[in-house]
Symmetry: C2
C-alpha cells in the first residue's frame, strides 16, 4: 500500500497456530501493510515458541516500513483451551507442553508492550466482522473449517467468549445425541466429529475399509487420503466421495441451524481450508439450512464464505487490539 | 406486601399463553403486588383475546391497590413466532387465527399506554435474571419445560432475541442429525422432539405400543398418560417410566452442553411444569452435563431450577418494561 493511502494508527496482529505463526501490521481500516510467516516449533516448548512469535512480530513491523513506536496496539490469537481474562493457556491440544502458560504476559514482556489476547477462531471471526464478509452486519457467526472446527460469534461488536472462556466453541455442539461419533476421545456426537477435514478423512477411511467401491481406495493405501482429494474425486464423479461431501455440507447446516435458533445472527460465515471446495459446497450447505431452519431465519440469514483467507487471524487479532484500545478509552 | 415496603416505580406484566393470561403488578425490586389469571379464549380470535388481556391487566392494577397513573411501564410476553421490533405476531402455533396481528400496538391502544413486547420464554428468563435464580449472574440461559421447550438467553443484561426475532429458540437446536424424530411436522431431530412433556408422552406411547411391560399401559388405554404420571411411575419403580425420565434428562443435558459451548453462561436454569419432578431429575441433568461438557464449563457452570414458578412470565414482562424504560433514558 502506498504511504499516502495508509491510515494511522497501526496495529500488529499475531496468529499463533500449532504449525505456523502468522503476523502482520494493519492500518486503521484493517488493510495489511505486511505479512510474515514463521514455524511455531511448538514441540520445542513455549520458550522457543514465544521467541518465534516475537521474531515474527518484529519482522512484520520491519516489513511494514513502520517503527515499533508507531504500533498503537498488539493482538494475539491463540488456539485453546485458555483462560482469557487471565491470559493463560490451560491445556492446548495443538501446543503440547504449553500447559498453564501465561502466554499473554510472557509475550508482552518480550515485546515490551501490552498484548490483547483472544482465541484464534474468535480473532479470525473478528477480522471478518471488522473488514471482511461481516463488515456490514451487526451480528455474525463464523466457522473455520480445518483439522478441527473453530467458531467465533460477534454480537453487536462483542465477541461471545463466554463466562469461562468457552463461548463460541460451536464445533463442539452436540449434533448426534444417540450413537454419536467419538471425538475428541471421551466426547460423543460433536459437530467436529462429523464435519471437520479430519472427520471427513476418517469417514472416508471407514467406508473404504467397509468395502465401498471408490476411486479413493488407492489413496488410502498410499497414505495420501486428504479432504482435498475427497473433494476432487467427488467432483470427478466418484459416488462415495460425492456423498461424503454432501453429508459434510448437511452436518455443517445442522450446526448452523442450531446457531440460527440460538444467536440468530445476520450472517453465518465459513472460512478455513475446506472452503477451497468452492461455490457448489456452499450452495449445498445453504440448501440444507433452508430446509431445516424456521422460515424467517431460513429466508433472511445470509450464508457466505469468509473473505480474508488465512490473513483473517492476524487481521482479527490486530482488530481486537484496536477494539480493546478504543473501548478502554 | 405492606405499603411501607413497596418500592416505586411500579410495573405491570402480562404473560399471554395459549390457554390463560396471567397478569400482575410488581414493584421496582420485582416483588409482585398482585396476580390475576383469566382464560385467553384464543379460539374466539384476537379481538376477544386482546379484550381479555386488557381486562386481566386492569384487574391486576385494581388488585394491587394502585391507580393506573402509578404504573410506570407495561410489558407483554407472548408466544411466537413474531417480529419483535415490529410488535407483530406472525403465525403463532398456540394462537391459531392470530396471524399477522400487531399485538403490541393493539394492546397499547386498549390500555392507553405503550407496551414493551417480548417473546414469552425470553420474558420468563428475564424475570429469573432480574429477581430469580439468575439475579446474581451476568449471563444465563433458561429452558422452560412444558408442552414445548422455551428458551431465553440473557447476556450482560441483554436478551439474545436475534436479528430476526428467532434468538434463544434453543428448544429447536438439532440434537439428532441422523434419524431424528419429526416435530414440529417437517422438522427433524430438534431438542423439543425429545425432551418436552409432549415428547415424553409420545416416547412412552411408542414404547407401550411396541409391547414394553410397564405400569403405564392402562393409562394409555384410558387416555390419562401424562408427563407427571410417567414421572410418578418412574419414582414408584416402573423400569420403562424411570428409563424415559433418565433419557429426558440426558437429552436436556445434550442441549445444555451445546449452549455451554456457544454462549458459555454462568448458569443454566430449568423452569416450567416438568421441574415439579424434583431434585433427582436435576441431579441427573447435572451428572450428564458434567460428563459431556469441556472440563472448565463442566466444573464451573451452575445448573439450577428456576425460582419464580409460573409468575416468571409476568414478572419478567414487567421487568422488561422497566429495562426498556431505563435504557431509553
Amino acid at each position: 500500500m502506498s504511504e499516502a493511502k495508509r491510515r494511522p494508527p497501526y496495529y500488529l496482529g499475531i496468529d499463533l497456530g500449532g504449525t505456523a505463526i502468522k503476523s502482520g501490521v494493519v492500518d486503521d481500516e484493517g488493510r495489511p501493510l505486511s505479512s510474515v510467516e514463521l514455524p511455531t516449533e511448538a514441540v520445542r516448548g513455549p520458550d522457543i515458541g514465544l521467541r518465534n512469535m516475537a521474531e515474527a512480530a518484529r519482522r512484520a513491523v520491519a516489513e511494514s516500513g513502520l517503527e515499533w513506536e508507531e504500533i498503537a496496539g498488539v493482538g494475539l490469537g491463540s488456539p485453546g483451551d485458555m483462560d482469557l481474562p487471565a491470559g493463560i493457556l490451560l491445556n492446548p491440544p495443538n501446543l503440547p507442553g504449553w500447559d498453564n502458560l501465561p502466554i499473554r504476559d510472557r509475550l508482552a514482556e518480550l515485546l515490551g508492550t501490552p498484548v490483547a489476547f483472544q482465541n484464534d477462531a474468535n480473532a479470525a471471526a473478528f477480522g471478518e466482522f471488522w473488514v471482511g464478509a461481516g463488515r456490514d452486519v451487526d451480528s455474525m457467526a463464523m466457522y473455520t473449517l480445518g483439522t478441527g472446527i473453530g467458531c467465533g460469534i460477534i454480537d453487536h461488536g462483542r465477541i461471545i467468549s463466554g463466562q469461562h472462556s468457552h463461548g463460541s466453541e460451536c464445533g463442539h455442539m452436540i449434533i448426534q445425541a444417540i450413537g454419536g461419533r467419538e471425538h475428541p476421545p471421551g466426547y460423543f456426537g460433536r459437530l467436529e466429529a462429523y464435519a471437520s477435514a479430519t472427520a471427513l478423512v476418517l469417514r472416508a477411511t471407514e467406508a473404504i475399509e467397509a468395502g465401498e467401491k471408490t476411486t479413493l481406495a488407492s489413496a488410502l493405501v498410499s497414505g495420501g487420503l486428504t479432504a482435498k482429494l475427497i473433494d476432487d474425486h467427488g467432483k470427478a464423479g466418484d459416488p462415495l466421495a460425492a456423498r461424503l461431501m454432501k453429508e459434510t455440507a448437511y452436518f455443517l447446516a445442522v450446526g448452523a441451524v442450531s446457531l440460527m435458533h440460538t444467536i440468530d445472527p445476520d450472517v453465518v460465515l465459513y472460512g478455513g481450508g475446506m472452503i477451497a471446495s468452492g461455490p457448489a459446497f456452499l450452495e449445498e450447505i445453504r440448501a440444507n439450512i433452508k430446509k431445516m431452519a424456521f422460515p424467517v431465519p431460513a429466508a433472511k440469514t445470509r450464508v457466505e464464505y469468509a473473505q480474508l483467507g488465512s490473513d483473517a487471524g492476524f487481521i482479527g487479532a490486530a482488530g481486537w487490539a484496536r477494539e480493546v484500545r478504543r473501548t478502554a478509552g
